[in-house]
């Protein structure tokens, strides 16, 4: 039975796609509309590079939060990127295919764990360990880096595995046929051939880390300050928005939207870098 004609289906699909797209566009426009005027009114330099965040005094410098976000993201990368990339290499090149085909979806499932659960583990397990062993409040830049590093693993591993598996088997065979070992083959050919995909996986992981909010609020400590050591408490851009949005009004509220604009721009840049990296890989083939 034919429920809808070809034309009707096309029209329905078009409407759905259009509403999805326009929804996203509206959100972006809304944030820009609320945030941009503030940035220009307050002064771009003052907003981005002043360390004074005193909303009740009308001072809105987000520099400490920018620094914190960058450190947390860098920390997450230091923790997550090597683990993820080496994990992906191990799974794709050293694990029998049938085993890998079970483990990979399992790891991808980790991405579906709500971030509040990661945050909870951070608070209950990780922060006390850091406090006991290194001192400081425990809820810190270090804790946030480690938790985020773990949270980006599924992204890094999954996309890295995909790009390593996309390397033609003939490259590996050519290498083995010249007397190379598995490790030589892996680092002299396979990784080189999948480099841009691996880089893309890390950049996408970065995007995830910089945008993460709930887990970071729970483990980072949230003091507005420029950290001197990894054990210091920090507040990221996302945490700042989430923590203050509920009671912010007027200029303060606009400043939070402006913070959102900064995040939006950073994430757009990261994602474009990732897609350039992925496209480069496809062109090369």
């Amino acid at each position: 039975m034919k429920l809808f004609g070809e034309k009707a289906v096309r029209r329905i699909l078009m409407v759905t796609a259009f509403s999805a797209l326009s929804g996203l566009l509206l959100i972006a426009l809304f944030i820009l509309n609320e945030g941009l005027p503030f940035i220009f009114k307050y002064g771009i330099k003052e907003f981005l590079f002043s360390s004074d965040w005193y909303p009740h005094l009308g001072k809105f410098g987000i520099y400490p939060m920018i620094v914190a976000s960058l450190w947390v993201t860098l920390g997450a990368m230091i923790v997550g990127a090597p683990l993820g990339v080496f994990g992906a290499i191990f799974l794709s090149e050293y694990t029998p295919r049938p085993v890998m085909k079970i483990i990979k979806p399992t790891i991808e499932l980790l991405a579906a764990i709500p971030s509040v659960v990661y945050g909870f583990i951070g608070v209950m397990v990780l922060a006390p360990i850091i406090r006991a062993n290194f001192g400081g409040p425990g809820l810190s830049l270090l804790a946030a880096s480690i938790i985020l590093g773990i949270m980006i693993l599924p992204t890094v591993i999954s996309i890295s595995i995909d790009s390593i598996l996309a390397v033609p088997q003939s490259y590996r065979e050519g290498s083995y046929a010249l007397g190379a070992t598995t490790w030589q083959t892996t680092h002299m050919v396979t990784i080189k051939a999948s480099k841009s995909g691996i880089i893309a996986s890390i950049i996408l992981g970065l995007g995830r880390a910089i945008g993460e909010t709930m887990a970071v609020i729970m483990v980072a400590g949230n003091s507005v300050n420029i950290p001197n050591t990894p054990l210091d408490s920090v507040r990221t851009l996302t945490a700042n928005i989430a923590l203050e949005m509920s009671y912010a009004t007027g200029m303060h509220r606009q400043a939070l939207f402006a913070t959102g604009v900064v995040l939006l721009i950073v994430i757009i840049i990261l994602n474009s870098l990732a897609s350039v990296a992925i496209r480069k890989r496809m062109v090369k083939r």
């Binding site: 490259y171 065979e173 050519g174 290498s175 083995y176 046929a177 010249l178 007397g179 002299m188 090369k284």
Partner: protein, 257 residues
């Protein structure tokens, strides 16, 4: 099976059975590879030529579920004996593949690859051997000005000769070639064939081809395979002019496939 031996034996294959899981791809295959001789394997597609060739340098080890029994000797040593160093075996028995498969690296890095794998890193030594091998594969003049360009930008026939050059650097004793001309045009094919005859002076060559003219042009010995069995193995001239088996005659006269 009659076979006139006029050169020392380099490899000896006896009673080799090979299974991909439950599927038997080689059935009690016997063959003798003589030194500085071109041995050709012919037969219809799917008869086990590539499988046999890949058994000679244990490339089949890379495929899960492959079982092999029987003996394959290289200079009287069983290459499947336990404790055999497979990576060293593959430097002695090298391989050129059906589709040219240069690495996505520069021309220079492609040719230097096997040397670096072997731990040779001296710039001067690398340069020397790379040049010599490219000359040996008749490719030096075409690429000497663009050694840093990607090997993937070369035309297919030059890519295939690059793969030969890449192999020559490590001085294998035996070169296995699996339909090395199947993706090349007739002129490029002729060039590779001439190269093979030149290489024969220093190397022992086993070539798989589904092209009977090619086998009769370049090889000294030919094996005809069918459904995993070595139907007939003899010197090329005899095999093509006076085959001893009816099946062989059917194939070379074009009644089969």
């Amino acid at each position: 099976m009659e076979s006139k031996i006029f050169a020392p034996l380099k490899m000896e294959i006896s009673n080799v059975d090979l299974f991909y899981g439950k599927f038997q791809a080689l059935k009690s295959v016997n063959m003798a590879v003589q030194q500085n001789i071109i041995t050709a394997l012919i037969g219809p597609s799917g008869c086990g030529k590539s499988t046999l060739l890949r058994a000679l340098n244990r490339m089949n080890d890379l495929i899960p579920g492959v079982k092999i029994t029987g003996k394959i000797l290289l200079d009287q040593t069983d290459i499947y004996k336990s404790g055999m160093a497979v990576t060293e075996l593959r430097t002695r028995v090298g391989m050129v593949f059906q589709r040219p498969n240069p690495f996505p690296l520069s021309i220079y890095d492609n040719v230097a690859y096997g040397l670096r794998v072997a731990g040779i890193t001296g710039k001067k030594e690398l340069n020397e051997i790379v040049e010599k091998s490219l000359v040996g594969a008749w490719l030096w003049d075409q690429v000497k000005d663009k050694l840093n360009r990607s090997a993937l930008d070369l035309p297919l026939d030059q890519q295939q000769r690059l793969c030969v050059a890449r192999l020559l650097t490590i001085q294998p004793e035996v070169i296995l070639m699996d339909e090395p001309c199947s993706s090349l045009d007739p002129i490029a094919t002729m060039k590779i064939e001439e190269l093979m005859i030149e290489l024969k002076k220093n190397y022992t060559i086993v070539i798989v081809t589904h092209n009977m003219q090619q086998a009769s042009r370049v090889s000294d010995y030919t094996g005809y395979m069918l459904l995993g069995e070595m139907i007939e193995f003899n010197d090329t001239k005899t095999l093509f002019t006076r085959p001893s088996k009816q099946l062989t005659e059917d194939y070379i006269s074009g009644k089969y496939g």
